[in-house]
């Protein structure tokens, strides 16, 4: 793909993903625990791996053409590492050490668990579509 098209697709996908992440944060707002960021990072991890596993088994067709928009754009912009870090730091500044540590631990389990689940979803979808 020509470079500027890749940048356009990634930029557009990332803008959409970031906007949706912000809307989720408004819907799930609450000072007790950063549920919104946990949810978007889990969902995004699930989606990216499901797509990768699906695309790997479907070499023909147009699946690969969606990769810059969906993978490099939407999923990457929807999920966020820097805000996760900031929320952890914010909990530490509030003196909520146990909550901060459990946020880190739960995040890691949710991210990688969602990726593992996405892998199986993608494979099942690809097999089902032959």
């Amino acid at each position: 793909m020509i470079a500027w098209r890749a940048y356009g697709a990634v930029g557009l996908g990332s803008a959409l993903g970031s906007t949706l992440r912000y809307l989720v944060s408004l819907a799930l707002t609450g000072p007790a625990f950063p549920w919104a960021t946990l949810a978007v990072n889990g969902l995004g991890s699930w989606l990216i791996v499901a797509f990768a596993a699906y695309a790997a088994r479907r070499t023909r067709g147009r699946v690969a053409r969606w990769q810059p928009f969906l993978v490099g754009g939407f999923c990457a912009g929807f999920t966020t590492f820097s805000l996760y870090g900031l929320e952890t730091l914010s909990l530490l500044y509030q003196g909520r050490l146990a909550t901060a540590l459990s946020y880190v631990a739960v995040s890691l389990v949710v991210w990688l668990g969602a990726a593992w689940a996405g892998y199986h979803t993608g494979q099942r979808l690809a097999v089902a579509r032959g």
Binding site: V10, T80, L83
Partner: protein
């Protein structure tokens, strides 16, 4: 819940720019480092964490609304620049390739160095206001 369209536009614009910056940095890093570990995503996430620390030090934690600067720079630009989905995909791929040490090392490096980069950014900005 009320949605300010200007804030939404700031988040979208920042997120789009952040995504393109992520692509540019990823391409640049891929030219210098071999693909043994996902260095591009690591550099993006660590630099994004450092910059987020700087932003928090300058603008304050998001409890205090900072007009359009926070949605544009933190939620949009830095939020969209960094990524967890690529990190999850890369960790799973390393694990499935039976490169278990690389997978665990990648997780430890991301969480450990990311956890250090953010407070370092805050410190560079002179602490939280």
């Amino acid at each position: 819940m009320s949605i300010d369209p200007l804030v939404l536009l700031a988040v979208a614009g920042g997120g789009g720019l952040g995504g393109m910056a992520r692509l540019a940095v990823g391409n640049l890093v891929a030219r210098w480092l071999d693909a043994g570990l996902p260095w591009g995503t690591l550099v993006v996430n660590l630099s994004g964490a450092l910059l987020m620390g700087l932003a928090a030090g300058m603008l304050g934690l998001p409890d205090r609304e900072a007009g359009l600067a926070w949605p544009l720079l933190a939620i949009g630009l830095l939020g969209g620049y960094t990524t967890v989905s690529s990190f999850s995909l890369q960790t799973l791929t390393l694990w499935q390739q039976r490169r278990r040490v690389a997978a665990v090392g990648y997780v430890a490096l991301t969480l450990g160095a990311g956890g250090a980069a953010l407070p370092a950014g805050v410190w560079l900005a002179g602490g939280l206001p």
